[in-house]
């Protein structure tokens, strides 16, 4: 199918120009195009009918990965393929590579961006739960040049909902450096390989003396949007790296706590099973990564 008529295409060079272009249109009439791998599906299906496409491909300063002592800063226009092959993303950030390396397919990973995924926040997406699981902070820049920073979990709402205001653009994603040994992992399940996740689980652990000092458990593929499991995180504290039963018990708590839905791909119970099994697997991986 073809997009509904579009009046204008612009390719700004700066964040200010991008926001200015947005400001020329009524709310919803102009859209940012990052990689476009989800947005263009909706535009072609005419579920989204923009009057103006603002293509962010040439906006300076929005792309690239900086690894520093404070943590990792990722430009929102950084493509999945770049994240997936960046060998500096280890330990606490390793889940990013897991997720980015399994989004869609090669072609999608060559074009799709982390920022686009976070701002679109599709119900079945890998980046939103990963960002939440890693405790990422998102920097938003407004038309007046002002910025604000939100925790990923405060930014990401229900499916297709975010805290981004109409006059804002996502300008950075930062993942704080871990205090001590830390590891993270992400894995999803879909009916076919690398399909949109029916359930995706991200676990990030800080490990001290071979035990979990603190953990974050985030789950995607949910009708209410990606979410953390407080009960699961609490239960992980104190669990030893090789303690399969302890890990299983913690993920069982997460599965009990999280509300899951029925759809074409799985019913609510099976989703809970996926939270348990994927969760246990990524937790074990996260422990191993924390150990280096």
């Amino acid at each position: 199918m073809y997009p509904a008529p579009i009046d204008e295409y612009v390719r700004p060079a700066t964040v200010a120009d991008a926001l200015a272009a947005l400001g020329r249109y009524d709310e919803g009439d102009a859209v940012f195009v990052a990689g476009g791998q989800s947005l263009m599906q909706a535009v072609k299906a005419r579920l989204v009918r923009p009057r103006c496409l603002i293509d962010l491909q040439s906006v300076s300063g929005l792309s690239g990965i900086d690894v520093g002592a404070d943590g990792v800063r990722i430009g929102p226009m950084t493509r999945y393929a770049e994240i997936a092959r960046d060998e500096r993303l280890t330990g606490a950030c390793a889940a990013l590579r897991d997720a980015a390396g399994r989004v869609g397919d090669r072609q999608v990973r060559n074009r799709g961006t982390i920022g686009g995924s976070l701002c679109w926040n599709y119900v079945a997406a890998c980046m939103p739960p990963t960002a939440i699981g890693l405790g990422a902070s998102l920097e938003l820049t407004a038309a007046d040049g002002g910025t604000r920073t939100l925790a990923a979990e405060d930014f990401i709402g229900g499916p297709l909902e975010t805290a981004r205001e109409e006059n804002e653009i996502l300008t950075a994603i930062t993942i704080p450096a871990a205090a001590g040994s830390a590891g993270s992992a992400y894995k999803k399940w879909g009916l076919v390989t690398d399909a949109l996740p029916v359930i995706g689980v991200c676990v990030a652990l800080e490990v001290a003396d071979g035990r979990c000092a603190s953990g974050r458990v985030a789950v995607g593929g949910l009708a209410n949007g990606p979410t953390r499991s407080g009960a699961g995180e609490e239960a992980l504290v104190g669990v030893a790296a090789g303690d399969g039963d302890g890990i299983a018990a913690a993920l069982a708590k997460a599965a009990d706590e999280i509300e899951t839905q029925d759809d074409l791909w799985a019913d609510s119970d099976y989703r809970k099973q996926l939270i348990r099994s994927l969760g246990a697997e990524v937790t074990a991986t996260a422990f191993a990564r924390a150990a280096g």
Binding site: P3, Y9, A42, L53
Partner: protein, 157 residues
Amino acid sequence: MSTTTITVTINGEVFEETVPVRMLLVDFIRERAALTGTHIGCTYEGVCGACTVQIDGEAVKSCLMVAAQADGHEITTVEGLAQGGELSPLQRAFNEQHALQCGYCTPGILMNMDEFLRENPDPTDEEIRHGLVGNLCRCTGYAHIVDAVRQAAKETR
């Protein structure tokens, strides 16, 4: 209808064209550049991969972009793979291993695997299969495609 003028290089040839803003890149390639080797297999979802081309050397789906997004970029389509009338090792391997039947998905697979092999000159079968996830083939069952990519890798190394 709102239009925009774009300059796109396809297989080394420069196209300067005024196009509707909403024109999809795949339609630009097929209708304006008359390069019909790039195929369409989806409605809006961009899953099948038959429209895969390379933009600045990277395999992407030309149905998930408007043509305007390609303004200023270099595109290679399946018609640009053979150089000077010589099939590329990958193309030749597809013939020798019988890696195509109807051939509808084949151009997209070639454009994806051509880049894949530059990135992974010595892939395992599992890596090849994983690399092919973005290209659906309904005829071959994929086994001969894997054979062909493996052969091309061997010959190119």
